[in-house]
């Protein structure tokens, strides 16, 4: 891929565009998932992904081909997300007053509809769905820094090293943030299910 990119820089704009489109197609779904789990909203995720692609194309020459394209564009997306979060802090406060909880619940319902749970009997399946919903909600309620790490490492399946590249912090920081995030989720689950959770999950 590295040689390909270096060559592409010397090519015409049209060729560069094709190269970029190909890379985008490869990671579009993963990037959308990443944005969705950060925002918890498909519409916002779509906006974020589009903006990330635009910005990535704008700064395509700064892409270092030693690193994976997906990590690079994920880092761009994360930066845009952080900027939006900072700008929307004030807005969110009023938005919370303006809207009721319906739209959040609808988002959750949309997500749960697509979830396929396996298990023995309808009770187990229902319980698993409930646990997944609670974990999903707990992750959504996490502070931004912890959420970023748990989404990358646990949901997206990135390694600590990959996550540290995307977030732009040392591996040790990733490790401690992930630990705190999991501890928070654990507390939420313990409050809801007590010590029975593991037995119930099977």
């Amino acid at each position: 891929m590295s040689g390909e990119h270096v060559a592409s820089v010397e090519r015409t704009l049209e060729e560069e565009r094709l190269w970029f489109e190909e890379r985008v197609r490869e990671c579009e779904t993963n990037l959308f998932r990443f944005a969705y789990y950060l925002t918890g909203n498909a519409e916002r995720a779509k906006d974020l992904v589009q903006e990330a692609f635009l910005r990535a194309f704008q700064y395509r020459h700064s892409f270092d081909s030693r690193y994976p394209f997906e990590s690079w564009i994920s880092a761009i997306l994360l930066n845009i997300y952080r900027q939006h979060e900072r700008r929307d802090r004030f807005l969110k406060f009023f938005s919370a007053l303006w809207q009721n909880k319906d739209s959040e619940e609808e988002n959750e319902e949309d997500f749960m509809e697509q979830l396929r749970c396996e298990g023995e009997g309808p009770e187990t399946i229902a319980l698993r769905r409930q646990v997944i919903r609670d974990v999903y909600k707990a992750i959504g309620d996490l502070p931004r820094k912890m959420k970023e790490v748990i989404v990358l490492c646990d949901i997206m399946g990135y390694s600590y090293e990959e996550a540290s590249e995307v977030i732009g912090c040392p591996i040790g920081t990733v490790r401690s943030r992930l630990h705190r995030a999991r501890r928070y989720v654990k507390k939420v689950l313990e409050a809801a299910y007590g010590d029975e959770l593991l037995r119930l999950w099977g």
């Binding site: 779509k46 906006d47 748990i150 646990d154 949901i155 600590y160 313990e190």
Partner: protein, 140 residues
Amino acid sequence: MQCHEVSQKISAFVDEELPPWEYREVARHLEICSRCRAEYRAFALIKVVAREIGKVTPKKIPERGVSLEHVMRVLRFRKTLWVIAILFGLLVGIFLILGWQRSLLDEQILNPNHLSAFSEDVLTRTQVRVETLELVTGEY
């Protein structure tokens, strides 16, 4: 290794992101400590559940209703337009203030009571104008 040390490393242990010697130490501790083992299981469960969540690829739907956030987000894309509108607003505001001040000045100039405040010797129109201006600006 003590419980409090293991507790700090459990998360990395679940992800197998510990150096081999530390990994072995934690594993050995978990064999003998039921409390840490319970914590390890809870962390492992969270990871499993999170992976389940990660298997879902959300629908690329939306457009549902209107939210303040959405409206503002759409507007943000027209940032330039906003800047122009604000500048235009400021310009209109400045003109309005200047016009208002000018009208006040005219009122003062054309006010006969005001004119009588000056001596008859200097009561030519141009002089009155100048002196009224000075009066208004506080220089008289």
